[in-house]
Structures are given as structure tokens and as C-alpha cells.
Symmetry: C2
Subunit: 552 residues, 2 copies
């Protein structure tokens, strides 16, 4: 029984999530996976290039499609994926879902944890696939698409396991009626909502996809994964492992299907609008996200666009702060949904730990220097920046010097010793005034950082809050030594459902959200309506139905 | 501390809800409330007639409105209610909400339970007010608007209490990093979504309103109650008690405001579309419910229209079944959202406990006779039927003989000895064929029952399922002695998120849903998107926000 085999893992995950403590089932260090794992993974990845991807346990394709380009080599991967008619996908999903819904919850949880154990053996294949579709560095590709994604998946399994077993499956209910009583035999069944679609994005094709996939599966719903046409391979590998693992254990592999499409013929709308589709998870731009949220009769979970801010008020160690911020804005070239974009600095400067003041211009200069020093560090620069996923982001970032405001640092190429052709551009830093709302009140996706001069910290807080309420925010970094200011920032930002990370220095960055402890996206502002992983993310995927019968 | 005072009640409610066992904090028998309670309640009610309702702790009204008519006397009540500008209501709600959000959860739960204890002292006033606005019998008015509504409110408090305390408010998170570790101090705060509006209906102005009111309040949101203009008094009394109770304990009474309006100038749209309103609970017709569900940026809970069915396959004691069904369709003249409307009977009749068959026509006749016998029973008839809430329902029911099909029983007046002018009409029973979808595929609100002749029980199941999926259903009654048929009905109806009640006879009816055990409306079919009271009903009203700080 897979339920028994993995019971301990699931119990630990439930407990950690409940207590919000540190827990990780899948070590984040590549070294934990053996000496030759890296080389073997690279080899496996390379063997996939230039061929049709045949690992899926799906048949009946009407054509093959593929248009992925490596941001590191700027060459096409040449891999093609089978294309299936939407109706065919939906019919197979419905059939697979019907029997899956009857599988007892502990066995479902065991089976799904088993798929994660199998995925673990392919972390390095998936890492290389992620690198060459998203432009993430190898380390981020490994961690985000491997252990961190698996941990988020396990978190969804654990909460689902807990919630689906919340009520007794059967009981006798007895209502006293004076001398007699009425007895009813009652059953409570969590009924899955129906076929689910999970729409992936081009920057985090696995990490942003697995929570929805596993939340749907644990609650009994069959799913169709619709990846971004430019980042199919990482999730295609994952789906193929899930399918093989399901089949090996006697389950229908069509419980989890891949629905690749092409830029010329996108199928997301056709899928989402189909009456058979009941659940939709979506990561991507706000325009399409808002459209999906507006579809009647669907249960929708979105992560859309946000604009994240940092509030600088006072610091203890200015160098440590600047190094931390420089890393946060440079990591994966600002293409993380958690990356800061707008840094709010009071015009009178920021207070230092020794009681002194660092004037505004010097603060800006220090930040600039920290970025320059990081990106030009031969051991750090290229690895931190990774590559830019697509040409449009690259061009938009290059043109950031034309945004208006004062250009503090112009983005420049950096040599990537391993990939001389990599699409790389260091962050552009532009200083603007608080009146320049047309510049800073939108997401400038990629390596673009704005420094906004404000009257004072209260003004910074006011603008940051306003931005989060209007345009959404996933993170907010803040630096202050003052307890009242800290409480004020917390109150104000929390009131627009934005979490705050205070005084991060050293090996922890505002960009990181840890499974089992941190909620990723609050679900309360325009950055998205869902959260990894709160209860809503799970309980909206099934319906409790109670049946009653007169007991004899 | 109110938290301490009521801790036991809340703990018991949490436990019962978790275990889905029988629990009642508020006895449903009027006798439990003392000998003179009834007379005093009637007197209090009578003193309210013909006057402005001045018990609310709200000021700044711009006019007074009132248009209630007793379904029992068909005379106007003559009570007027203050009318407030929408902006004024919203501003006061926002102010009250701001401090309420900071009240610790146990104290919030204690305060809210205290309001229920205070409401208890007014159960008889509220019962009379309910009777003379909704047309419910005294007994139903007492139970539905009194103990049953309070129990549902307590259920919402209990689940909220449990969920808001789900995560530790603060903790140290430590991530091992080889020889060292990273330590973060984390806090988790459940942040209320914002101002809430609860829109009531004319038939259950308290029972359908309190779950949303208490779910909003326990999760920290200020609320505005917008009753149906023809059924204000019962909930006005409740709101006034809540306000007084809040004020007596040092809280802002504007946490719970009444927003009465008139048929000429309805304010529901203005309220719901206002950007300050974040949460909406609604009970009423599907057209307006669908409009509310479509509003972007709102968290919406609806109970709309459904068409409930009974599937007759086989019975043990045909008389007991017919008596049970006759009561179910007659109770409050079919104006309960849980009342059966469509009774599906196979053309070859139904199987009896002794192995015999009751032919179709005789089954219909037996049902007719059971209804006639019940409604004409001088001790039972008038009290079971109550009165019809409004003229339109009355006229529509009278015209039910023109629907098409074969009229089995024509609705007729019944003498109500206490109220000779009561708006009463016994159920009209019409027999139709399964092809008459235009007749039975819609809600015929009020005392109208259709008997639908089907090929066999499988056909009955198919039609019942189809109806529930397309038009919604809140209940489904079924009678069968066959285990396979029982499982099939359960499977099929549960797949369209409709609970089934099997073989009810005696003092238990399909219409009844018990607090702490039965879910009312599943939330999965067109009858409504919400459920009293599942987790979704609570957790969608607040957002978990986690803040982090580098620990020194």
C-alpha cells in the first residue's frame, strides 16, 4: 500500500504546515542527490534535444509542435510535443477522473507522494530543461523546479489529505425528542468538482504548476496541464513521470495529461471556456488572468502581475542591506514574481545604526555600487543573473533608460563563461520622483529597478500601500530600526494583504517563500486571487455532500 | 471576559460541528423558555406596530420607510424604519471595522456568543415578527428565526474561532544551513477582507441572514444588513439587540448596521457595486444572485433558486411515506427552499414492502389523499400551511391548474381559526409526463407539486440529476428498499452536488437541515455557490498574511 509507505512523510508535512515550521522532504542541495546525478541529468536532457518527446502515455495526437529556444544558446531545442484535440483530452480526463474519485484519500495521498519520489530521480533532467527554457541559472533551475516544487506539491497533498478527512465518513446522528429520539445514519463525502486545467508560465513552468496539479489530484480531480509554448519541456518531463508512476501502480495515466500548444494556435481559451472544465489554475499576465477570473461557473486560482516594493527607513549595517538588495534585484534578472522593483527612499536619506544619516544620493550610489559589484563578480554575476527568458523582456529592459527619470545604472551585457551566446543584461537602475506615477505604477518585468524619492518614510508607506491595493504586490521588503515604524508598515501593508519581510541581510532574501511556512501570494490584492497554500486553495476544489437515511 | 464566559459553548459547538453530531445550544421548544414568554413576546411585538422602529443605535437617517403587510391579517404593520445614505453606512462600517479587526479572536467569539444569548430573550418577539412578515406558522417562525437561526450563527462563530486560530500567531523559523542556520521571526495574521453586505429574503429573513452576519463578524468584518423591504422587522429586532449588546460591552454598534430600503428605491445594487464592499451574502432569486456573483472583485456567497425532487422507487410502509411527503410539500405552503416540488414516479408503479406493486395511478391518488387529509385536519392543516408570503406567489399558485398536465388536486382555501383573513391556499397537485420539461424544469415557488411519470427509476434518477445540474437543487428525497438503487441514486445525485435523504418517515422531513451536522446547500450546483456552513463559507472572508523578520 502506497498509503502506508508514505504515511510518515505526509504526517510530517501536515504537522510542519500546521505549525508553519521549517520542513523539507526534498533537500535543496544538488550534492544530496549523488555525485554522478548532475552529469547523468545533463546527458538525459541532451538526448531529448531535436526529437519528438515520446515519453508521454498519451496517444491519438493530431500533430506535433515545438518552438522552445534556449535563453543560454539562443538556439531552438528542436523538441516537438504531441498535440491532442481538446475534446479528446476532456473525454479521457473525465474517464480517468471517474475512477480516481473513488480511490480512498489515504491511497490517493500515497500514490501522489509516490509520484514525487519518482520525480526526485529526474531533478537534474528537469533542471537542465528548466535552464534552457526559462533562462534560470542551473542552481535556481534545480531548486525551483526540483526540491522546492516537490515540497510545494507535498504541501498541497498534505493539506488535502487533512481536509478530505476532516469529517467522519459515516455516523449515527441522534436527536432527542422527549421520551423518544430520531436516529439518522449519515454519510459525508467530499465530491471532486471535475476536470481541471492548469496553465503554466514561461519563467517557472514547474514551480508555479505543481501546487495546482497536486491540489487538484489529491481532491480527486483529473487534470490537463497547458504549459506556456516556450517552456514545455520541464513540465513535460514531470507529467511523463507522473503518468508512468500512475500506470505502474494500476491507475489511469490520463489523470494527468499534457496539452501542448503553439503560439500560432493557443488552446487556453478553448479549454477554459469548455463546460466540462470546472477548475482552472493560472499563472501569467493580468489581462488573461482577469479574463479567466471572469468566466462564470468556474473555480479559478490565479497568480497575476504585481509590483513589489522595498521601503528603506533605517538600517543597522548599510553594506549588508545593499548587498542583500542587490542580490534580490539581480537574481534571475528580476524575472521572479517576488523580486523587488520599486525602492522607496526618503529625500533626507536613511538613518544608520551608528546614529548617522546616509543622504539620499549616497544611498542610491551605494545601491548602484552593490549591483555593479555583484554582477561583475566573475564568481557571482552570471550565475545570479541567469539569462532573460525572451527577446521582448530583453528589449524592454534595454529600453528602460528611456523610461524617464535619471538613469543611475545602464543595463549591460555580462560574459557568461559557459554560454557565450546567453541573453544577459544587468539591471538598469532609474531614479524617479514620487510624482512619476506613470513610470513606477506598473510592472517592468525583468532587470529594471526604480528608486523613488519620497518626502519621508510615511510617504513611502503610503505610496507602497496604494500601489499594492491598485496593482497588486506579492512581497514587500522593509528596513527599519524603529518599532513604531515597523508596526506601521506591517499594519498598512497587511491591510492591503501584502506580507512584509523586515531587515533581511545575509543568506535570506525577500524573493524566497518557503514551503510549509510562507504563503506565496496572499490572494487578497490584484497580484492574484489564490495563495500557495492556504485552505481556500484546497477546499474550493471539492464539495462536501452529506447523505442521510432513517436508521431502523 | 466574554471569551471565558462562553468558552464552553464555543468548544462544544466546535466539537459537534467537527463530529457532525447532534448539538443544540438553543432548545427548539417554546416551552423551554418559560411560561409567560409567549404572551410577553406577543405583547412586545404588538407594541411595535404602527410606529417608527427606534431601537436601532444608528442615527443620521434621511427618511423613514416601511411597507410590510401581514400574510395573516393582510393589513399593513405600519412600522417604519430609518433610511441612511449608502456612503454614511459605509463610512461608519469602515470605522467600526478598523477597531473590531484588532479584537483578539477569543474575545470576538465571546462577544458574538453574548449577542446570541441576548437574542434568546427576544425569541418570541422575533417569532411574531417573522409570522407577520413571512407567513410562517408560529411554530416555524419561532424555531427558524429563533433557536435554529441562533444555532446556525453559533456554528459560524465556532468554525471561525477554530480557523482564525489555526496557525501560531508567532514563531521562530530556523532553516539549517550546514554548520550554521538562518533564523526568522514570523507572525501570521488573519486579515479581514473588509465591509460586508448581507442581503435577506422575504421568507426566512433571520435564518438565512444570520450565518453570513456571524461569519463576517467572527472573521473581523463590519456588516450592513439589507433586508427584503417586505420582511424587515424580524431582522431589525435582531440587529437592534446585537447593537445594544455590542455597545453595552464597549464595542461600536455600527459593526452591524441595518439598511432598510423600499420597493420604490432599492439599494442593493448601489451597496454591492460600491468599491468599499468586499463581501456579499445573498439569498433570493437566481437572476439577481447571478448578477451578484458576476461582480468583479467581490467575495460572494449565494443561495438562489433550486428545484427539489423526490424519487419514489420502493417503500416499506406506503402510508407512512405518503404522510411524510404530504407534510413536506405542505409545510409553509412549499415556500421553503428545501421543499420538494417534483415527485418522480415510475409508470409501472412502486414496489411495496410486502412484495406487491402499487400502480402509478393509485400512488398518485394516495399522495393526493394524504395531502387532502393533512390540510383539512383542523388540528394540523392551517398550522402546517402557514400563510403565503405575498400576493404574487398566491396568484401563481392559484393559476397552477393552467400549467398543463392533469390536475390531481386543486389548491383551495383552508380556514385559519385564528386569522380569518390569512392568505392561505392548499397545494395544487398536477400530474405531468417526463416529456413536459417546460412545466417541471423550473421552480414553481409556493404550494405547487408536480408528479412526473417516468419509464422507471433509472429514468427518474436521470431526470432528477439533469434538473439538479441545470437548475440547481438543495435537497433530494428518495425512497427505495434496494441497496443498489440506493447507491446509484447517491452516486448520481452526489455527482451534481445534491445530498440525498433516504426513506424518511415519521418526525423527520427532507426540508430540515440541522445545524452542526447537515450542510445547507452544497455550493456545487446552480442553487447557490455557498454552504451553511462549510470551511469555504468562513475562510474566504479573511486572508492569512505572514510577516517575517531576520532574528538577531
Amino acid at each position: 500500500m502506497l498509503a502506508t509507505k508514505h504515511q510518515n512523510v505526509i504526517d510530517n508535512a501536515v504537522k510542519a504546515n500546521q505549525e508553519r515550521t521549517y520542513y523539507s522532504q526534498y533537500p535543496e542541495h544538488p550534492k544530496a542527490y549523488g555525485e554522478d546525478a548532475h552529469a547523468k541529468g545533463l546527458q538525459s536532457y541532451q538526448q531529448l534535444l531535436g526529437k519528438p518527446f515520446k515519453q508521454l502515455l498519451q496517444s491519438g495526437e493530431t500533430s506535433w509542435t515545438g518552438e522552445e529556444v534556449s535563453p543560454y544558446t539562443q538556439e531552438v531545442l528542436g523538441i516537438t510535443y504531441p498535440v491532442f484535440p481538446v475534446n479528446d483530452l476532456l473525454q479521457k480526463a473525465a474517464t480517468a477522473g471517474k475512477s480516481w474519485a473513488k480511490v480512498p484519500v489515504p491511497e490517493r495521498a500515497g500514490m501522489l507522494t509516490e509520484t514525487l519520489e519518482r520525480i526526485k530521480d529526474y531533478f537534474f533532467d528537469i533542471a537542465n530543461a528548466t535552464m534552457h527554457t526559462t533562462g534560470q541559472s542551473f542552481m535556481m533551475s534545480f531548486q525551483a523546479s526540483g526540491p522546492h516544487a516537490n515540497d510545494r506539491a507535498l504541501e498541497a497533498i498534505a493539506i488535502g489529505y487533512q481536509e478530505l478527512e476532516r469529517y467522519p465518513p459515516e455516523l449515527t446522528w441522534e436527536k432527542p425528542m422527549g421520551k423518544t429520539s430520531i436516529k439518522l445514519y449519515k454519510t459525508f463525502r467530499p465530491i471532486p468538482k471535475g476536470t481541471a486545467v492548469v496553465i503554466g508560465c514561461s519563467t517557472f513552468p514547474v514551480w508555479n504548476t505543481l501546487p495546482g496539479v497536486y491540489a487538484d489530484l489529491i481532491t480527486g480531480n483529473p487534470i490537463i496541464v497547458k504549459p506556456h509554448p516556450k517552456a514545455i519541456l520541464p513540465i513535460a518531463i514531470v507529467v511523463s513521470i507522473i503518468q508512468q508512476s500512475l500506470q505502474d501502480n494500476g491507475y489511469d495515466p490520463h489523470l494527468c495529461q499534457l496539452a501542448a500548444d503553439s503560439s500560432e494556435h493557443l488552446i487556453a481559451k478553448e479549454l477554459c471556456e469548455h463546460p466540462a472544465v470546472k477548475l482552472i489554475d493560472y499563472t501569467g499576465n493580468s489581462a488573461f488572468g482577469n479574463y479567466i477570473e471572469s468566466l462564470p461557473g468556474k473555480t479559478v486560482f490565479t497568480e497575476k502581475t504585481g509590483v513589489n516594493a522595498v521601503i528603506l527607513d533605517s538600517v543597522k549595517n548599510i553594506d549588508a542591506v545593499m548587498q542583500n538588495l542587490a542580490f534580490s534585484v539581480s537574481l534571475y534578472s528580476g524575472q521572479m514574481c517576488t523580486a523587488p522593483q520599486n525602492i522607496f527612499v526618503p529625500e533626507h536619506g536613511i538613518q544608520l545604526g551608528d546614529g548617522g544619516i546616509m543622504p539620499f544620493n549616497e544611498t542610491v550610489q551605494l545601491f548602484r555600487d552593490a549591483v555593479v559589484s555583484l554582477v561583475n563578480n566573475p564568481k557571482m554575476g552570471a550565475g545570479t543573473l541567469g539569462a532573460i527568458q525572451n527577446e521582448q523582456t530583453f528589449n524592454r529592459a534595454k529600453e528602460a533608460t528611456q523610461l524617464g527619470g535619471k538613469v543611475i545604472l545602464q543595463g549591460a551585457p555580462v560574459v557568461n563563461e559557459e554560454f557565450s551566446n546567453a541573453r544577459v543584461l544587468t539591471p538598469t537602475i532609474v531614479e524617479v520622483t514620487s510624482a512619476d506615477t506613470d513610470i513606477y505604477e506598473k510592472e517592468l518585468f525583468g532587470p529594471v529597478v526604480l528608486i523613488i524619492k519620497t518626502r519621508d518614510t510615511d510617504h513611502s508607506i503610503q505610496l507602497t500601500k496604494q500601489m499594492a491595493a491598485k496593482y497588486g504586490a506579492i512581497t514587500c521588503g522593509a528596513y527599519t530600526n524603529d518599532a513604531n515604524t515597523k508596526e506601521k508598515i506591517t499594519e498598512e501593508m497587511n491591510s492591503v494583504f501584502t506580507p512584509v519581510s523586515f531587515n533581511f541581510t545575509g543568506f535570506i532574501w525577500v524573493n524566497q517563500h518557503s514551503a510549509f511556512s510562507d504563503f506565496h501570494v496572499s490572494g487578497g490584492n490584484p497580484a492574484g486571487n489564490a495563495s500557495f497554500t492556504n485552505l481556500e486553495f484546497i477546499v474550493k476544489r471539492f464539495i462536501w455532500v452529506g447523505n442521510r437515511e432513517l436508521a431502523e
